[in-house]
């Protein structure tokens, strides 16, 4: 018989085994009777000779080899029967586990999708990112260095190990049908799609001959943009679109979800057609480079080759490439600092799962103790300890797996709404899905938790002093089981303290951060980026006039108090850094202190409500021909000048690109929390320098004009002014666009969104933890008290009053509480340190947080223990003593 036949035809096998034994006994007895023994004696002797028939049968079953499988099957059926017998217990246990496992699986789904899954390209391990590297470059401040276009072309031509492709960030105004719209434009090399291994959704990629100056203008649309603007109509491929006053033919549509340098472009054009002068320089490094290893090439070989090409270029172009090399690294998804948050949350839900397991363990243990007599009976009948342990574990595994299945379902349904709650954009969110890794994780977690909560009851299976157990009637609770129960309650309480205190700390942090002064008046300020009419951008003089005109028009809109132009505004909406020095002997760039540079028009101070500390802010005196001036913030003033008055002093800013790089300080203003309320204190660069837009040299006018925003202070709710601003600013040709319209209040609030989100989740986890541990403490006390009913009955019969009895029970829970809270406090101190490391602006652990949060748990736990205590005090001694 096969193993499965043995499983399915178990009864038949048992019958045959029984028959074989009976045949043996009868033959033996017959023979003895033939020898003259009395029939009764013959049967007795035959049985003695064979040994206990059940024992022999058991050994025969063992000999089959598939015994474990049969046992498993039997145990499974037995476990299901047990759970069916007590549906209430099963439901509570499975739901508790489902919550724990579901939450853990959900978090792991995100961790897996965002952090662990490889990039969504074919053969992702062959993809590399290529960066420039030179001694003066501060990677920790500026990020990885990109590559100059001529350097890129040289690498592309000379490399035998890599197929290189490049892309450049740009922007443009798409006009024509419908409103003019500012689009996220990327210029790409013709081979970008083939290097990544991506197929277009429609149409074709660029051809090599299109990636050159003077070739016919062509463009590829991003999938979302195509859907949004053209409702996914296929006839768009082949049509002509007007981008910055030039007609482009649409040749293809990028696939859905295609991302380039962390965001989905709206429009792509061939890089080689761009005639911008900075693309011809080896000193500017704008090109982001990805590459695919050629078949057979290794990363090491590619690195060696790039190094060689770099050295070669350094010899050839000494003034720009002297210390520059190129490095290749495996291409990894850039997910920013989201990893810390995800791991933090996974850790927190792990704690919730642990509490859930402990809870189920104490429930199971209580049941195991009431089943003690049954188990003892089975041991007496010949069951081995291993067999009993296995059965107990099978039961808990069934519970764990049922909880797991339900949990995965919870995670599958809950994950979309959860992602919608996530503050800001979760990187790679479109790649997040339940895959085999998540299912494997859920399976392991389920089995592991089943093992965890099943182990204690299983190991309690009685093996010795059977006789005592059998006689004891399952009434006595031994000291060891009381201790075990106690330790469950203690660990639940401790874990709950950790989560509660963490939530409390996050709450305190959020309160503290919200109360911080951003350094400006954020009420009633509207900020919006603005794309000037493409026609005016070609000529710097016309650009200046256009900006001036725009500001004047905006100021005339009713309800507008003041207007300013600004390139980067606070709450980390863009940043531009420059190294500065206070004397003419400027050291090399990598030795310089850095400051945030903000290019503004005179009314900026008024619009943002930033306070002027000394000197003046910009005004009409600051014109292109006058000496270049700057205004610094109090942080820079303190850092560089200490107690001295900086007004009238000068700063040397070597890489400003002005004719003269010496700037006179005309004023000092208050510090603005540029990096957001939470992160400004820890930011690497805090010092701020403002410089007037009016003095910007012509050479920078075009680039800056693409980056400028306008900030508007309004009398009433700022969003109400958007429509009138739009119509007033659309320009003569109707092709000036406002985009990314937001209020400062919104931005300030968004800068705390991660802290708020963490507080929200930790709050939920803490509430769950308190609830679960209260259920746990209630269950354990109710059980222990129930076991003591006869004893309490005697006490009452002997004259104990209800108060004494209540105290008897409460004393027990207070003892557990004290130990649990003490352990939890120690663990919470450690958790506080973890939070301090991972959460920006986190406040250190303090006594007040403990004083506020821990009483919540203590009161809840006392309430939970009060119920069993009161029940105990109402025990009727007559009934109690008659029990059993």
């Amino acid at each position: 018989m096969n193993w499965w036949q043995r499983l399915l035809r178990r009864e038949e096998m048992e019958e045959k085994l029984q028959k074989e034994m009976r045949f043996h006994l009868e033959e033996h007895a017959k023979e003895l009777i033939a020898g003259g023994v009395s029939p009764a004696e013959a049967q007795r002797r035959a049985r003695m000779a064979l040994g206990g028939p059940e024992k022999v049968k058991e050994e025969c079953r063992d000999a089959r080899g598939t015994r474990w499988l049969e046992d498993l099957w039997q145990d499974l059926r037995c476990a299901l029967r047990m759970l069916r017998q007590r549906p209430g217990f099963a439901a509570v246990a499975i739901l508790t586990l489902a919550l724990g496992i579901g939450a853990t699986t959900l978090m792991f789904t995100l961790v897996n999708g965002v952090l662990l899954r490889p990039l969504p390209y074919p053969e992702p391990d062959k993809l590399v990112a290529v960066h420039g590297h030179s001694d003066g470059w501060k990677t920790e401040l500026f990020g990885e260095q990109n590559v100059a276009y001529p350097d890129f072309l040289d690498c592309q031509r000379d490399s035998r190990t890599l197929a290189l492709a490049g892309s450049l960030f740009d922007g443009g105004t798409l006009s024509g049908a419908g409103l003019p719209e500012y689009v996220d434009l990327r210029e790409i090399t013709w081979n970008l799609f083939s290097v990544l291994g991506v197929h277009l959704a429609d149409g074709r990629a660029f051809r090599p001959e299109e990636d050159h100056r003077g070739a016919a203008p062509v463009m590829i649309l991003g999938y979302s943009f195509w859907q949004r603007h053209f409702a996914g109509r296929p006839e768009v491929v082949g049509a002509s679109l007007n981008l910055d006053d030039k007609l482009y033919t649409v040749v293809g549509i990028a696939p859905s979800g295609f991302r380039l340098r962390d965001s989905e472009p709206d429009v792509m054009t061939p890089l080689g057609q761009d005639t911008a002068p900075f693309l011809e320089k080896r000193g500017a490094h704008p090109i982001g480079v990805v590459a695919r290893l050629e078949p057979g090439a290794t990363l090491a070989a590619a690195q060696a080759e790039l190094h060689l090409i770099g050295r070669h270029l350094a010899e050839q172009y000494k003034d720009t490439n002297a210390d520059r090399i190129f490095v290749a690294r495996r291409l990894r998804p850039n997910v920013g600092d989201i990893g810390a948050t995800l791991w933090l949350l996974l850790g927190a839900v792990g704690l919730v799962l642990l509490i859930a397991c402990t809870n189920v363990a104490s429930l199971l243990l209580a049941r195991a103790i009431s089943r003690e007599r049954e188990l003892a009976m089975r041991v007496a009948l010949g069951a081995g300890r291993g067999r009993l342990v296995r059965q107990c574990l099978t039961e808990s595994a069934v519970l764990g797996l049922s909880g797991g299945v339900l949990g995965v379902a919870l995670a599958a349904f809950g994950f979309r709404p959860f992602v919608a709650l996530w503050p800001g954009a979760l990187p790679r969110v479109e790649e997040v899905q339940l895959d085999w890794r998540v299912l494997l994780f859920a399976l392991i977690v389920s089995l592991l938790s089943g093992f965890l909560f099943g182990l204690a009851p299983a190991l309690r299976a009685p093996v010795h002093k059977l006789e005592q157990v059998l006689r004891g009637g399952g009434r006595g609770v031994t000291g060891s089981s009381r201790r075990l129960h106690g330790s469950f309650v203690v660990s639940e309480l401790a874990l709950a303290v950790v989560l509660l205190v963490s939530a409390g700390l996050l709450g305190r942090t959020l309160l503290h951060l919200s109360s911080l002064d951003p350094g400006m008046n954020v009420r009633n300020v509207l900020v919006t980026r603005m794309a000037l009419s493409p026609a005016t951008l070609a000529d710097p003089a016309r650009t200046r006039v256009a900006w001036k005109d725009a500001l004047e028009r905006a100021r005339r809109v009713p309800g507008v108090q003041s207007v300013a132009t600004v390139d980067t505004f606070p709450m980390r909406e863009g940043d531009n850094e420059q190294g500065y020095w206070t004397s003419a002997d400027v050291p090399p760039t990598n030795k310089l202190p850095f400051a945030l540079m903000t290019c503004v028009s005179p009314d900026y101070l008024k619009v943002m409500g930033i306070s002027l500390r000394r000197g003046r802010f910009f005004d009409d005196r600051d014109v292109p021909n006058s000496a270049p001036v700057i205004v610094i913030d109090e942080v820079l003033a303190l850092n560089s000048f200490g107690a001295e008055d900086p007004v009238g002093k000068r700063l040397w800013i070597p890489e400003m690109g002005y004719a003269s790089n010496v700037f006179e300080i005309v004023g000092v203003v208050g510090h603005v929390r540029h990096w957001g309320l939470a992160s400004d204190d820890q930011a690497k660069i805090r010092a701020q320098i403002y410089y007037p837009f009016s003095q910007l040299p012509d050479s920078l006018m075009h680039r800056w004009s693409q980056l400028m925003s306008i900030a508007v202070r309004t009398e009433l709710a700022p969003l109400g002014e958007v429509a009138s601003l739009r119509s007033e600013l659309k320009g003569a040709a109707g092709d000036q666009v406002l985009y990314e319209v937001r209020t400062m209040e919104q931005l300030v609030s968004d800068s705390l969104s991660r802290q708020r989100f963490l507080l929200f989740l930790f709050g939920i986890f803490a509430a769950l933890a308190v609830l679960l541990s209260c259920i746990g403490i209630y269950g354990v006390l109710a059980y222990l008290t129930g076991q003591r009913v006869p004893e309490i009955g005697i006490r009452i019969a002997l004259g104990a009053r209800p108060n004494n009895v209540m105290w008897l029970v409460l004393r027990q829970s207070i003892g557990l509480l004290v130990v649990g809270v003490a352990l939890g406090t120690a663990a919470a101190l450690a958790a506080g340190r973890v939070l301090l490391r991972f959460v920006e602006g986190m406040q250190p652990t303090d006594l007040s947080t403990f004083l506020v949060t821990i009483p919540v748990l203590v009161l809840a736990a006392l309430f939970a223990s009060f119920l069993p205590a009161r029940r105990a005090s109402r025990v009727d001694p007559v009934i109690a003593l008659r029990q059993d």
């Binding site: 045959k16 028959k19 045949f23 020898g35 000779a49 040994g51 022999v56 025969c60 080899g65």
Partner: protein, 122 residues
């Protein structure tokens, strides 16, 4: 032919496990036979020297069956009762041959050693 009850009660076999398997294979090799007859035959042939506890007989038979060395089917005995008859499979026969050969080699070697030590003692 009545055997002493005392020895039947002795739960421990004096035989190492492999030996019991070898004996069972040999007895079954003589022709299809049921469990009780195997017990009897072992006793008779070994002239009561080898005492196989009946309790360990059946687990051993089932183990051999499970390993494919024996096969079994239900047939009627001469007295018309249904019993489980064990037969040797081809695999069992091969196993019997190798085990018998190695047993002979072993006993021969042990015999030699014993003789040697006797001579040495003399």
């Amino acid at each position: 032919m009545q055997k002493p009850e005392v020895s039947a009660l002795n739960p421990k076999s004096d035989l190492p496990q492999g030996t019991l398997d070898l004996l069972l294979l040999k007895v079954v090799a003589l022709g299809p036979v049921h469990g009780y007859a195997i017990a009897q035959r072992l006793e008779q042939v070994s002239r009561h020297v080898v005492q196989v506890p009946q309790g360990s007989l059946y687990p051993a038979l089932h183990r051999l069956e499970n390993r494919g060395l024996l096969s079994a089917d239900w047939k009627e005995t001469e007295t018309g009762r249904e019993a489980k008859f064990y037969r040797l499979t081809a695999k069992g026969r091969a196993q019997l041959e190798t085990e018998a050969a190695s047993w002979e080699r072993l006993t021969e070697a042990i015999g030699l050693i014993l003789k040697l030590s006797q001579e040495g003692a003399e």
